[in-house]
């Protein structure tokens, strides 16, 4: 049965789009049919991160308003044939997203895909509420940093009150994805630890993505980090998170990029 998954955070810049693309590609790599939808109307970027920016013709708003068919707006990934993208509109504003329209598009997508990943915009306004509205599962992307944790707490509150599931008395499945984590700094007491964030937010952990140069490298290339460099630390961490989303039990480790001693000594400075 198809699952609608929202990738959300409240705060901007914590890695929602990176995570949507990476998890989408990881799930598709495992054989599932996946579509990733950009809900950031007016500031779309998922197309760029996934390397499809030159192939956008129609978008989510066109489909919501009936100006284009779903099949016309869906962009199939060039690397993985079972991965698709539904881009956001760059010219319209978020009010064009009607609840009924979004519900209808998601209903159609549920028939074609196993996973429908909704990449939420930052904030708690219409785009963000529409992205979470019909979700079955939520991945809350959080950085180990005070403002991100606070905003995640707020978003968890909204997931428990403003989603369709919550209004029907159901509980939405929520998972924490801790991104940009630096185990060495956490160990030195310079960064909130995994346990700190877990204790404060009290939702189960789906993965820890270590801070890594590979993430920027992948977005430069227009490729999800799980495809651009699957064996990199963030690549492996996202693959593990995707397996946990599918219900597998995967031991929780924080992968690290392999570095030679010389690389350790000089690598950071050069970056």
């Amino acid at each position: 049965m198809a699952k609608v998954l929202v990738v959300t955070s409240g705060k901007g810049g914590v890695g929602k789009t990176t995570s949507s693309a990476a998890l989408g590609a990881a799930l598709a790599h495992g054989g599932d049919k996946v579509v990733v939808i950009d809900f950031d109307v007016g500031l779309r970027n998922l197309d760029l991160v996934m390397g499809a920016e030159r192939r956008v013709v129609f978008d989510l708003i066109n489909v919501v308003q009936g100006d284009a068919k779903l099949s016309q707006a869906l962009i199939r990934d060039k690397r993985l044939e079972n991965l698709s993208l539904l881009p956001a509109s760059q010219t319209r504003d978020k009010d064009a997203l009607t609840e009924e329209g979004v519900a209808r598009v998601l209903k159609d997508l549920r028939e074609k895909f196993d996973w429908i990943i909704c990449d939420s915009p930052a904030g708690i306004e219409r785009g963000a509420t529409m992205a979470m509205r019909h979700a079955d599962v939520a991945v809350v992307v959080t950085n180990p940093e005070v403002s991100s944790v606070r905003d995640s707490d707020r978003i968890i509150g909204l997931l428990d009150s403003k989603t369709e599931k919550a209004e029907n008395g159901d509980r939405i499945e929520k998972h924490l994805l801790l991104t940009r984590y630096d185990p060495a700094r956490a160990e030195r007491g310079e960064m909130l630890k995994v346990e700190d964030v877990l204790e404060i937010l009290s939702i189960p952990l789906i993965g820890i993505i270590p801070e890594s140069e590979e993430v920027l490298r992948a977005s430069n290339m227009g490729s999800p980090v799980t495809l651009n460099n699957p064996s990199s630390a963030p690549g492996r961490a996202y693959f593990d998170a995707a397996r946990r989303l599918k219900g597998e039990t995967v031991e929780l480790t924080i992968p690290s990029d392999k570095r030679s001693l010389l690389g350790k000594l000089f690598g950071r400075r050069a970056a």
Binding site: V146, R150, D153, G157, R188, E190, L192, K193, D196
Partner: protein, 88 residues
């Protein structure tokens, strides 16, 4: 960074953790249904005091201070002094 400050440096993550715990305990309370506790307290306290003494709205100060273990509510009511004899 001087050598002294390097050795004296206290870790910042525990501070972040404690600040978040206090803040979120409060913010979750707000979402739970008491939108503006301090303003409401101010109005009700003013009403009680006014049954006995006439005080102006601006002369009632209500402050809430939240801490990890205890929170304090500070109420300051400025009561007008006796009317000067000459004023009658």
């Amino acid at each position: 960074m001087s050598l002294m400050s390097f050795f004296n440096r206290r870790t910042s993550a525990p501070v972040a953790r404690e600040r978040l715990q206090i803040l979120l305990a409060h913010e979750r309370g707000i979402v739970g249904g008491k939108p503006d506790l301090v303003a409401q307290l101010r109005e009700e306290i003013l009403a009680v005091v006014r049954r006995h003494v006439m005080v102006e709205h601006q002369n009632v100060q209500v402050k809430m201070n939240r801490d990890a273990d205890i929170s304090t509510l500070e109420i300051e009511v400025e009561i007008p002094g006796p009317t000067p004899v000459g004023a009658r």
